[in-house]
Amino acid sequence: MKNFTLISNNNSLCDKVISREFINGSALDVLIHVRSLIHLGSILLTHPLCGNLRPNHQPFRSVIINRKNGLVDLESLTLIENAVHVYESCKLINIHELDELKRVDYAFIDYELMRESLEQYNLISRESSLKPAPLLLI
């Protein structure tokens, strides 16, 4: 059975998604939760690292998995272990300490990077998409 689920700490992204699990925590918390699910047989559908951003520039993390129990998928396991390693080796951004404009932009980029994948797996609800913060022009 296919059980596609988004695991994410990006609340505003979760709101747009049909099957999701919101993690109230850091990007690393998301990855560790995903790792536990993979250990029980879930399969990664998207790469756990995303975009060309270093973790310390990426407070939101969203991963789509096929949730199931069974044999461990080696590729998923390798990727998630490496991703956890990357996040553990650097200083993370605390979402709650971000100013609102930055937070909105980070959430927006995370959403944008996930959008096509979410569409591919029919996970996106047809509501309006997220908007970035307005540019402050000087």
């Binding site: 990664l44 559908l45 998207t46 790469h47 690292l49 995303c50 975009g51 060309n52 951003l53 270093r54 310390n56 520039h57 789509i64 590729e75 998923s76 390798t78 990727l79 490496n82 991703a83 390693h85 990357v86 080796s89 650097c90 404009l101 930055k102 932009d105 980070y106 927006f108 980029i109 944008e112 990077l113 996930m114 959008r115 096509e116 994948s117 591919q120 908007k131 970035p132 913060a133 307005p134 540019l135 402050l136 022009l137 000087i138």
Partner: protein, 430 residues
Amino acid sequence: MKLELHRLNVKSLKFGDKTGFADGVLTVNKSELLALISEDELLGKNLDVDLAIPGESVRVMPVKDVIEPRFKLEGKGQVFPGMISDVETVGEGKTLVLSGCAVLTAGKLVRFQEGIIDMSGPGADYTPYSKTCNVVLVLEPADPNMDKHDYEKACRTAGLKAAKYLAEACKDVKPEKIESYEFAKIRDAMNSYPELPKVGYLYMLQTQGLLHDTYLYGVDVKKILPTVISPLEVMDGAIVSGNCVSACDKNSTYSHQNNPVIADMLKRHGKDFNFVAVIVTNENVTLADKRRSSSYATKIAGMLGLDGLVITEEGFGNPDADLIMNCWKAERLGIKTALLTDEYAGQDGASQSLADSCPEGDACVTAGNANEVIILPPMQKVIGYAEEANVIAGGWNGSLAEDGTITVELQAITGATSELGYTKLGAYTL
């Protein structure tokens, strides 16, 4: 396929009444150029054009893309096909190049992207674009709340239009140097140099979504299956960057036009190997796409009977998985690989450099550790927005000191760890 590059060597820039080239100086009619880019209703009213010349105490930031001015004098199509020109295939005929000159697009997009280019001082050593005479477009959106996709496209298009405009204005000037390039048909290539190994270049392009996209003949590369292209098409701007993140290792349009791997492989062609094809592939988000593209790209290499592949990556982290899949899938088909990447080994250099690896990746060149910290002393003039130093990738809150000094990771410097290998930077293990 035969392409001639007609080069004019730009050694300086100035504003003047008529855009044109004489005695090493490119004169730019500012109001004409402004009028050209202002045609786009998506761009705001306060656009500006500025000039930055090597050695000046000038900092440009945040820089989105770098483009070399080129214009097709003869042959099918026009530069940047599918973007600002028709979709007709390019790569044949004669193309005018303003060597030593570049168009920079600068302005805010989303807060933490884009790069810094210093025209002098320690930062200048790290970016290839401190050595070019730069025509800087300072851009803003018509409406601050405008859709980022539309704004990104408007910025990208403005840069391409400006690059074509500058070169076109010099089309009647006699070239200072003419270079001729030829690339054989695959049938002929297969029958040439029987004693040499047949090799190709696997050209990976960042394609992860908004601000992480690349275009081939105007097509978003994330939507393609890996395909074969001639290096000469690349020189005419068939590949255009729409990529905005991590300035150090996004491939600018300029570095595509002047891809140094292609240049070097063409030089060695017929001597050390038989350079048969360039294969373009993408770096997508879903694992299914990654598996499909890596299998398909290496399959093409296998079908062509290649003995070896040079593989270049674009970006860090997620694309490491694509690089590694491409590497071992090729090697297991009996195709020898050499990889070109960069590293994110942490500010202290002690972390793992890549997010993925495979034992087959035994020939790997790196363009340096993007996390190394550099101090950029203040410049007399800043074109763009200095305060973005605190938010760009590679910077942090406090990166910008009151006196204008910026302390950042190399990541923030445009092209510093180019994974097309356009710098001399590298790393070694202490």
